[in-house]
C-alpha cells in the first residue's frame, strides 16, 4: 500500500432512482465512496447489488439522482452530457470486462485513440502510446489487431489505453471475468502495479475472490448500500482484510 492520502474521487450519499410505469427502482441508496491515490480498491457484491450502476456514476457516465461526486477535485453537479464526457476524458480511464477495443485499429492505435481523445498532439501520441504498451509489456504486439490478441493481451491493451494520458482514476469493470486464472492474475498484478502510482486511484469491480490479494481496500455493496468496508491487513500477503466499517 502506497497511498498518498489524496482523495482522487469522492462520492457522497449517492442515490439513483429509475422511474418507470411499473414503479421506481432504486439500485443505489445513499452510497459513500472515497478512492485514494496510490490505492487499489475492490468493489464486490452479488449480482443486482448496484455495482455497475455505482461504477457508471463514479465514471461520470450516469448522473446520480441525488448526492454529490467529485473527481480529481472537480464537482460533477450541474454538468451536462458534454461536461461529463469532458471530465471522463481528462480524469477517468476505463478497463472493461469485454475489453471494448476498436477491432479495426491495432493495439497501438487503440491506445493512440485514447490519447487523441485526451488531446495529445500527433507528434506526442505515438511515443506516449508506445510507453503505455511498454508499461503493460505489450510493445512487441503493438501492430497486431485485437482479433489476433489473446484475452489476456486484449485486457492489457485495454489497461494501456486506460493508462494513456495519466488519468486520475482508473475504473475496471470485472477485468478478470473473461480470463483464465493465469491471465486473470497477470491482469490484477498489472492493475495493482498501476495503483502504486500515487497520482491515481484504481477501483476494480469484481466478484472474483482470487483478486482479493491485490486489493488495498475492499468495499462490499449489497442491495444498493455499502455493506462493509475493509482494509488490507498490512502484514498479509494473501488478501486478508481488517473490517473497518459494517452496515
Amino acid at each position: 500500500m502506497t497511498h498518498s492520502g489524496i482523495t482522487m474521487l469522492e462520492a457522497r450519499d449517492i442515490t439513483k432512482v429509475y422511474r418507470s410505469g411499473a414503479g421506481d427502482v432504486m439500485p443505489l441508496k445513499g452510497v459513500n465512496v472515497d478512492l485514494m491515490a496510490g490505492e487499489l480498491t475492490l468493489l464486490m457484491g452479488p449480482s443486482g447489488s448496484g455495482k455497475t450502476t455505482l461504477l457508471s456514476i463514479l465514471g461520470c457516465i450516469l448522473s446520480p439522482t441525488s448526492g454529490s461526486l467529485r473527481v480529481a477535485g472537480i464537482p460533477t453537479k450541474g454538468l451536462n452530457a458534454e461536461g461529463m464526457a469532458d471530465l471522463r476524458r481528462k480524469h477517468v480511464g476505463f478497463v472493461f470486462q469485454a475489453y471494448n477495443l476498436v477491432p479495426t485499429l491495432t493495439a497501438l492505435e487503440n491506445v493512440m485513440l485514447a490519447l487523441d481523445l485526451r488531446g495529445a498532439s500527433l507528434s506526442d501520441a505515438p511515443y506516449l502510446a508506445w510507453e503505455a504498451l511498454d508499461a503493460v509489456g505489450l510493445s512487441h504486439r503493438a501492430h497486431v489487431s485485437p482479433s489476433k490478441l489473446s484475452g489476456g493481451e486484449k485486457q492489457r491493451v485495454s489497461i494501456a489505453r486506460a493508462l494513456a494520458g495519466s488519468p486520475s482514476v482508473i475504473l475496471a469493470d470485472e477485468p478478470t471475468a473473461a480470463l483464465d486464472s493465469e491471465n486473470g492474475k497477470a491482469v490484477m498484478a498489472l492493475l495493482a502495479e498501476v495503483a502504486k502510482d500515487t497520482r491515481r486511484a484504481v477501483l476494480v469491480v469484481t466478484h472474483d475472490h482470487r483478486t482479493l490479494e491485490y486489493g488495498d481496500r475492499m468495499i462490499r455493496i449489497e442491495d444498493g448500500r455499502i455493506a462493509s468496508r475493509a482494509r488490507r491487513r498490512p502484514t498479509s500477503a494473501r488478501g486478508e482484510f481488517d473490517l473497518i466499517e459494517a452496515a
Binding site: 455497475t52 465514471g59 457516465i61 471522463r88 477517468v92 471494448n100 479495426t104 492505435e109 507528434s123
Partner: protein, 406 residues
C-alpha cells in the same frame, strides 16, 4: 549518458523532456478521426461496395441527365449563339429559332435607317420537304444566310467550303444527317420543294434539338426554295454600333416595326430554351431524372451508412464512454460519408466520361463542363453528408453505460 544513433531526444509538452525516442516510435501520427473513418469504411467491404454502387449510380444518373440538359441547351441555342447579333427582329409570337415565320419584307430598310445600327444580316429559315435521289423524303429546316457578306452560318465546314454555296442551288448539310437525307458524299444531289439542289459543303457536329436536319444555303437560294419574295426573311439580325445603346436601338426598332418583336440575343435564347425545355416538358423530365438520381443516392448511402454505424455502435459507445465528445463521433461518421463521396464521385465521374465518350456519335448530346463536374462534386458530398444524418441521429442517442452491460 550516450544517446544511440537511432534515437532522438524529445521535448514535447506532456512527455518528459530529455527522454529519448527509439527509432520507429518517432514521427507524426495520422489524425485518428480520418484513420478510424477509413478503417470503419473498409472493414466491411460488402457494405462499402453497396455504398459505392449507390453513389456511382447516383453520380452517373445525375451527370447524364444534366449532361443531356446542357447538351440540349447547346443544340437549341447553337444557331443563336453562332449567328452574331445584338438584336433579333422576329415575327410576333416566335417561340424559338426552329419556329420560323416570314417577316413582311420591309425590315431591312427600317433597321438600316434606324440610328445606332451598325450592320444587318437577314436569315430566311423555313421547313422544307427534302426528297432523296433514291426515293423517299423527309422534312428539313432550311437556313439561308448572307454567305456573300461573311455570315457566320454555316460553321464547322469540313468538306467543300461555305463560299461554294454561292453557286446556284448549292446547299450544305451535316455529315451526321447523311443517312437521313440520302446523301453519300459531297456533290450528291437531292430535291427541296421539287427543286434540285447539290451538296457543295459538309459540316460536322451541327445537330438540331428537334432532330430535323439543318440544310444551309444562301439567302437568295433559300428565298427561292421557300417561295419567299426577294425582300422577305425570317429573322433580321441587328448589330448595334459601338457606343450606341442596345435598349435605345431596340425601342426605336419597336416603334418602326410594330408587327415584329425585337429581342436581344439573351431574350431570344431564353425564349428558345424555355419553349423546348420547359413548355414541351423535356427539360422537366431531365431535371426530374436527375432529382430521382439524387434521391436514390441519398437513400442508398443513408441506408448503408446507417447499417455501418449500427455495426460499429459498440465502438461508438466505447468512444463515448472514454470521453469522446458528440462532435468527435459525428466527425468520424461525417468523415466516413465524405470518404465514400470522394471514392464514389471519382468512380462515377470516370463512368460518366465513358458514357459521354461512347455517346459522342449518337443522336444524344451529353455535355460535361468543369462547372457541371464541380456541381456534381458538391452534390455528391452534400448527398453523403445528408445521408450521414440518419447515422448521427442514431449515434447521439447512444447510452455509454451500455459498455458495462456487455
Amino acid at each position: 549518458m550516450r544517446v544511440p544513433a537511432n534515437t532522438a531526444t524529445i521535448a514535447h509538452p506532456g512527455v518528459s523532456a530529455g527522454r529519448t525516442i527509439p527509432a520507429g516510435r518517432r514521427g507524426k501520427a495520422m489524425p485518428m478521426i480520418p484513420k478510424l473513418a477509413y478503417r470503419n469504411l473498409f472493414h466491411d467491404r460488402l457494405s462499402l461496395i453497396v455504398t459505392l454502387v449507390g453513389i456511382v449510380f447516383s453520380v452517373v444518373l445525375v451527370a447524364v441527365q444534366f449532361g443531356i440538359y446542357l447538351g440540349s441547351e447547346n443544340r437549341i441555342a447553337a444557331m443563336l449563339d453562332q449567328a452574331k447579333g445584338d438584336l433579333w427582329v422576329v415575327a410576333l409570337g416566335t417561340k424559338s429559332f426552329d419556329d420560323p415565320s416570314l417577316l413582311s419584307g420591309r425590315e431591312r430598310h427600317a433597321v438600316l435607317s434606324t440610328p445606332g445600327v451598325a450592320s444587318v444580316e437577314e436569315l430566311a429559315v423555313g421547313f422544307v420537304n427534302w426528297r432523296k435521289s433514291k426515293g423517299g423524303s423527309t422534312a428539313a429546316l432550311l437556313v439561308g444566310s448572307e454567305i456573300t457578306r461573311g455570315s457566320a452560318l454555316p460553321w464547322n465546314v469540313t468538306q467543300g467550303s461555305a463560299s461554294a454555296l454561292i453557286a446556284p442551288s448549292a446547299v450544305a448539310i451535316d455529315s451526321t444527317y447523311f443517312g437521313e437525307l440520302g446523301i453519300g458524299k459531297l456533290g450528291d444531289r437531292a430535291e427541296i420543294n421539287n427543286m434540285e439542289v447539290v451538296v457543295k459543303a459538309v459540316t460536322t457536329g451541327i445537330r438540331s434539338f428537334t432532330t430535323l436536319p439543318y440544310v444551309f444555303t444562301t439567302l437568295s437560294t433559300a428565298r427561292t426554295l421557300l417561295a419567299a419574295s426577294p425582300d422577305q426573311s425570317s429573322y433580321t439580325l441587328v448589330n448595334v454600333a459601338p457606343g450606341a445603346s442596345i435598349e435605345t436601338v431596340r425601342a426605336a426598332l419597336a416603334n418602326r416595326l410594330p408587327d415584329a418583336e425585337i429581342l436581344t440575343h439573351a431574350e431570344f435564347r431564353k425564349r428558345s430554351l424555355d419553349y423546348w425545355l420547359f413548355e414541351t416538358g423535356a427539360g422537366a423530365a431531365l431535371i426530374a431524372g436527375a432529382a430521382l438520381g439524387i434521391i436514390v443516392g441519398i437513400v442508398i448511402v443513408a441506408q448503408t451508412l446507417y447499417a455501418s454505424t449500427k455495426d460499429h455502435l459498440n465502438e461508438f459507445a466505447t468512444l463515448r464512454a472514454l470521453g469522446a465528445s458528440a462532435g468527435y463521433i459525428n466527425k468520424v461518421i461525417l468523415m466516413q460519408a465524405v470518404l465514400s463521396a470522394l471514392i464514389g464521385y471519382l468512380l462515377g465521374m470516370v463512368l460518366s466520361l465513358v458514357v459521354i465518350w461512347a455517346s459522342q456519335d449518337s443522336t444524344l448530346l451529353i455535355v460535361m463542363t468543369p462547372g457541371l463536374a464541380g456541381m456534381l462534386f458538391g452534390l455528391t458530398v452534400g448527398m453523403c453528408v445528408l445521408a450521414a444524418m440518419c447515422a448521427i441521429f442514431k449515434v447521439i442517442r447512444i447510452d455509454p453505460a451500455v459498455v458495462f452491460s456487455r
